[in-house]
Amino acid sequence: MTLIDLANPTRFLALTARVLPWLAAATIILLAIGLYQAAYAPDDYQQGATVKIMFIHVPNAWLSMFVWGVMSIASLGTLVWRHPLADVAAKAAAPIGAAFTFLALLTGSLWGRPMWGTYWEWDARLTSVLILFLMYLGLMALWRAVDDPSRAARAAAVLTLVGAINLPIIKFSVDWWNTLHQPASVMRMGGSALDKSFLIPLLVMAIAFTLLFLTLHLAAMRNEILRRRVRSLQMMQASRIAFPKEMAAGSRDDSASKEAGAA
């Protein structure tokens, strides 16, 4: 089973129908374990109980960048390999990524209020994540503005790849501009700065959120494929109503197979 085999939407639908329940179950179990561990993690000696926001905030922030990375790879799939499902993957990922980014910003600002004394600060990390959020919204607007999916796909792919420049800027913003947001402490040279009692729940939550993204992404891709099928069926129906004679004259099978192939 390679990536090319999945180019057939029907095969993809069949495979994901089998995989999705397992993925969903794994997500729920890991989320439950992670939330339990996070709830029973010790309070921080400085931050008190508010440190528990970290277990939601950090996975969301990681995922907000991870999703754009997935979309960039899918965009390469659209532009370079012309994989038929690549643009479906890119389109389905955008709203999920926007949601993760929004949650990262929201939890971060809720955490910032007791810790920094402000909900929002024009700090380099916060600003670059806000730009990421705006670019997600722009991409979604682009998908909505164009009715032909393949034309929108290529435009969105170019824009996604250009926007990928923002990812390293977000990652290293805390090192380049030494401002309010703390520098990386989980993954860094010389081992993690976090204590084990915080690190393990955090990693469990990160894996759980990644699985959550995979589940939502595959489900959204299925929906998108089905939506495109409905659209082409509706267009066939409309053309049958508009040109009943031509359709009856024998070109029906031909155009029907073309439309189904496009879907």
């Binding site: 600003t127 730009i131 705006l134 722009g138 682009l142 290529r154 435009a155 792919a157 170019v158 250009v162």
Partner: protein
């Protein structure tokens, strides 16, 4: 080379003649800057503090609004198809078009800056700093905006969608442009650091813009 020079000369001529619309950008810049004192009040001290930010915002919006004609007019009269099919690499042709657009629409903004600086109560050094940062930063605006212009022409949608797509990409330019000019006026940072980053942003967009625009034209035109 001669083909690119001819393309640049042609684009500048079209932009400066009747129907070109390059100088409308300057007029828009002037109008935006004149609007600001009405919004924040005619307090000269406040205006001189906000001056660089106002000038940068005006220049950003003016260069954005003139951009959607970059490929649209050529698409309408068919010359864009000739450019994409010609033997000159499309990336170079895009870069030449953006350069011509910057010469016709971006440079006048910088020339107009000293006059507008007077209106905003900026002294000579501050005006010079803003003009210098605009000189270094507006190419970045043009070359990243070109990506949006190419998307707009392939999608047959311009206007607001393009602004939504391009404006987030221009935020870093705005940040460092204003930071460099503020550094001259109030300190405490040095002028050099943000100015070098601004130049770097321009150089990076000089490389990325033509490739992205050419890719979207190549994949999007039919």
């Amino acid at each position: 080379m001669t083909a690119l020079a001819a393309l640049i000369r042609r684009d500048i001529r079209i932009a400066l003649r009747v129907g070109g619309g390059a100088l409308i950008g300057v007029l828009f810049f002037l109008t935006v800057v004149v609007l600001m004192p009405f919004a924040v009040g005619p307090d000269l001290a406040l205006l001189s503090r906000l001056g660089p930010a106002i000038l940068w915002l005006g220049a950003l919006l003016a260069s954005l609004l003139t951009l959607d004609r970059l490929f649209m007019a050529d698409h309408e009269d068919g010359s864009l198809d000739l450019i994409t099919m010609s033997r000159t690499p499309l990336e170079l042709a895009c870069a030449a078009k953006a350069l011509a657009h910057w010469l016709a629409a971006g440079l006048p903004l910088i020339v107009a800056t000293p006059v507008l600086g007077l209106l905003l109560n900026l002294d000579m050094i501050a005006t010079a700093a803003v003009a210098l940062t605009l000189l270094a930063g507006t190419p970045a605006l043009t070359f990243t905006g070109m990506i949006g212009a190419a998307l707009a022409v392939t999608l047959h949608r311009g206007g607001l969608l393009m602004a939504v797509l391009v404006l987030p990409l221009s935020i870093p330019v705005l940040i460092f442009g204003v930071a460099a000019s503020q550094a001259v006026i109030v300190g405490p940072m040095t002028f050099g650091a943000p100015f070098s980053i601004l130049c770097a942003l321009s150089l990076v967009s000089l490389v990325i813009g033509p490739f992205a625009a050419a890719a979207s034209l190549r994949h999007g035109l039919d």
